[in-house]
């Protein structure tokens, strides 16, 4: 049995919802209210002590880390193939996994966090792992330094270039066909327009539109309401 604990059709959760739609997999839908910080409730922390969605529970085993949940689904349900047509395209998929989680998502989290996190987030923060607790406290207290914020903007500016270069090389992020790198990067890339000082380029905007038209993505996006809860992404790299 497969159950998905998620925060709705955006961010990391959005990627897993799209992947499940692509694969036509049936699952139990367990949406958490991130606005009320249900991801910090003890019941959820038993599944993921870091208090982060999404978590895919398969036969009682909780799987975390969005990129690797996507790989799990790809390997367990191989049709349609989404991890790339050949080893080079599959390398690109793994490259984007690392880039999104290691650079893009943390930089977006810092910029979004510096614009003010909702005070209610304090709920349950003490129950988190030390790394996550420290990051939340920073966001709550407006504690991202000017240095961290400008560093995050540098990362976002380079991400804007990275997307343009990649989409110049291949039609989609991991090759000539739509795939997992697109599914993983899309919910983050669509925030660049709002959060990055350097606006996304023409190829990136065209790619975002093409991704939105994909039936699986359109179905997931149609479930979006107007309210979006603040979600804190992964920690930024601590040592280059």
């Amino acid at each position: 049995m497969i159950a998905l604990y998620h925060g709705g059709p955006a961010g990391h959760s959005g990627s897993v919802l799209v992947m499940l739609a692509e694969k036509g997999v049936e699952y139990e839908d367990r949406r958490l209210d991130l606005g009320r910080f249900e991801q910090h409730d003890e019941a959820f922390l038993a599944l993921n002590p870091e208090g982060m969605v999404p978590v895919l529970v398969v036969d009682g085993r909780p799987l975390t880390e969005t990129a690797y949940i996507l790989h799990y689904l790809e390997e367990r349900f191989p049709e349609p193939r989404l991890d790339g047509a050949n080893p080079r395209d599959r390398y690109r998929t793994h490259w984007w996994d690392k880039y999104v989680e290691g650079h893009l998502a943390p930089a977006l989290a810092i910029v979004a966090g510096s614009r003010g996190a909702p005070a209610v987030a304090a709920a349950g923060v003490t129950r988190l792992t030390p790394e996550r607790r420290a990051l939340w406290i920073k966001a709550l207290e407006g504690g991202f330094s000017a240095d961290e914020i400008s560093g995050a903007q540098t990362t976002l500016g380079r991400a804007v270039d990275q997307f343009e270069r990649a989409l110049d090389e291949t039609a989609w992020l991991n090759g000539e066909t739509f795939g997992m790198a697109d599914i993983l990067a899309f919910p983050h890339a669509e925030r660049l327009g709002d959060l990055s000082d350097v606006p996304p380029g023409a190829r990136t905007l065209a790619w975002l539109e093409a991704v939105r038209k994909r039936p699986s993505v359109a179905t997931v996006l149609a479930q979006r309401g107007r309210e979006t809860a603040f979600a804190l992404g992964p920690e930024a790299p601590r040592w280059g």
Binding site: V58, R61, L63, T64, E65, A67, Y68, I69, H71, Y72, E75, R76, P87, R88, R90, Y91, H94, W95, D97, K98, E101, G102, P130, E131, G151, T154, T155, P234, E235, P237, R238, W239, G240
Partner: protein
């Protein structure tokens, strides 16, 4: 043609070397001397503009991220499979690699480089250090090197890194209580990753790793150090790392099977 541009069989530099020796794939090893900061040289930046090591190049396809490059090697070449066939264990393998990449390796790199590097840099004039710094292409890495060169890494950051390494040692010991390798019954890329960074722990006095405190990790270190592929990879170094690996084998009571290998 498969080419690897890297330093010693150590940490990220060592990951493709350990992987290729385990996979038994032939490759050309281009030694990049990190002691001379050759990774920041103009020649090397033509291959990898970010100035990071390792870089793996297969028939012109340039790969600059070591974890994805190891997945590529296992995917593109024949030889013993280094990824478990079962999707759950493959998830576990990647989870361990992510934890290494994001949490453990940066923590260990911070602790180790702050022990080793600042004394050397403090001998150089400020002007000379600024010149070296200007060669580093990315702002994130420049910031890290600046802290090293001027010995300004906050103590609290180093303490936090030590705490993270201690947690990692306990976590791996717990995983290895379940299965002989980090992602199940067989050796995988997760073991490559952790070995490349943790191979020397039995001789590292800073952390408690021994047969009593961390029995499962200890036996895993013995199993990994006994592997011909791992021994061959550690044999590729030019000095300290290769000697260190031999000393670790001795401390673990592991026999050396592969004397020398082709580079």
């Amino acid at each position: 043609m498969l080419e690897v541009y890297t330093w010693e069989p150590n940490a990220n530099s060592g990951k493709p070397l350990l992987c290729l020796k385990e996979k038994q794939v032939e490759f050309t090893y281009h030694y990049i001397d990190m002691g001379k900061r050759e990774q920041h040289s103009e020649d090397y930046k033509k291959i990898n503009p970010q100035g990071t090591i390792p870089t793996v190049v297969h028939d012109g396809f340039v790969m600059t991220e070591s974890t994805p490059a190891n997945e590529y090697i296992d995917d593109a070449f024949d030889g013993p499979s280094l990824r478990p066939p079962d999707p759950f264990w493959r998830w576990r393998m990647r989870q361990v690699m992510r934890y290494m990449d994001n949490i453990v390796c940066p923590a260990l790199a911070m602790v180790a480089s702050n022990q080793l590097a600042p004394p050397n840099f403090l001998k150089m004039s400020e002007e000379e250090r600024r010149r070296e710094l200007d060669k580093i292409p990315t702002p994130e890495r420049r910031k890290t090197w600046e802290m090293l060169m001027f010995n300004t890494t906050p103590r609290s950051d180093i303490e936090e890194s030590k705490r993270r390494i201690e947690v990692a040692i306990k976590r791996f010991d717990a995983l290895l209580k379940e299965t002989p390798y980090l992602a199940g019954e067989e050796f995988s890329l997760a073991d490559v990753d952790v070995m490349a960074t943790f191979y020397g722990l039995p001789l590292n006095n800073a952390f408690e790793v021994d047969a009593e405190a961390t029995p499962h990790l200890w036996h895993w270190l013995k199993r990994c150090h006994a592997r011909p592929g791992i021994q061959a990879a550690f044999g590729l170094g030019r000095g300290f790392i290769t000697k260190r690996a031999a000393e670790v084998r001795e401390a673990l009571g592991v026999e050396t099977v592969a004397a020398e290998t082709v580079a």
